[in-house]
Assembly symmetry: C2
Homo-oligomer: 148 residues x 2
């Protein structure tokens, strides 16, 4: 397969995994900057027209993987592919951020759940969504219901 | 960075990039199967509760990258990170599919835009969406407006 390389790095207020809101109802409102490497900056042309972006990044401080995950949002284990656990066979994270503004090769964004210094693999425009009435949220909806 | 490995492969009716609907208004309704490798199948536990999944995959038949992309949905070029172009610095694709049913290590899904045999890097539950009234779609909305 391909050899991943960082196209950018995250500047985030989160220095430690304990700083990142977790569990049921966690809100990610942290603001920060995606600093694109100079050699890839030309790839940002016209990105400022999008309100939201997908950010693909590496869980660079996770080690190894577990097929059974114990997410902080539930007291029951679930398969890793049914969770956002960092300990995945390919340690890739996915976050939707709101693009606040662009300044050259810097994207100012809201909604970070990554640690400071996290390497970014890719940025894509967020285009579509699934209508709420068609969405089922599996064990997470059940865990929420049990907490009520 | 990490060394990517395929956790699954796509069985898709699309044998060739020409088979995949492209351009403005393209709808992805193709059905197929995500075949998870036996050693990762335990990671699927409880996935059947989710109606939609994120699939991260490798553009394994793309070669090289271009920072300026020429998407089929517009007659104007845009930065690669403002498009879904396959020719990206890290050739990772992202698709939201609808999970129809699970049969052991096989996930039957709708909404494939990948070619048959595409290697899959990761599967995650699709949980949230951005409210339509908060979403701006940049050059794509402009290209649609020009076509009207």
């Amino acid at each position: 397969m391909f050899n991943p390389r960082p196209i950018a790095f995250v500047r985030s207020p989160h220095q430690d995994t304990n700083d990142v809101p977790k569990g049921l109802g966690a809100k990610h409102t942290a603001e920060g900057v995606l600093e694109i490497q100079p050699e890839f900056a030309a790839g940002l042309a016209d990105i400022e027209g999008f309100s939201h972006l997908y950010v693909l990044w590496e869980f660079d401080r996770a080690s190894g993987y577990e097929l059974t995950a114990h997410p902080p949002s539930d007291d029951r284990p679930h398969g890793v592919f049914a969770t956002r656990s960092p300990q995945r066979p390919n340690p890739i994270g996915l976050t939707v951020v709101e693009l606040l503004r662009r300044d050259g090769a810097k994207l100012y964004v809201r909604g970070l759940d990554m640690l400071d210094g996290t390497p970014i693999l890719d940025i894509k425009p967020y285009l579509s969504n699934v209508p709420e009435e068609k969405l089922r949220r599996g064990w997470l909806a059940e865990a929420e219901a049990r907490k009520r």
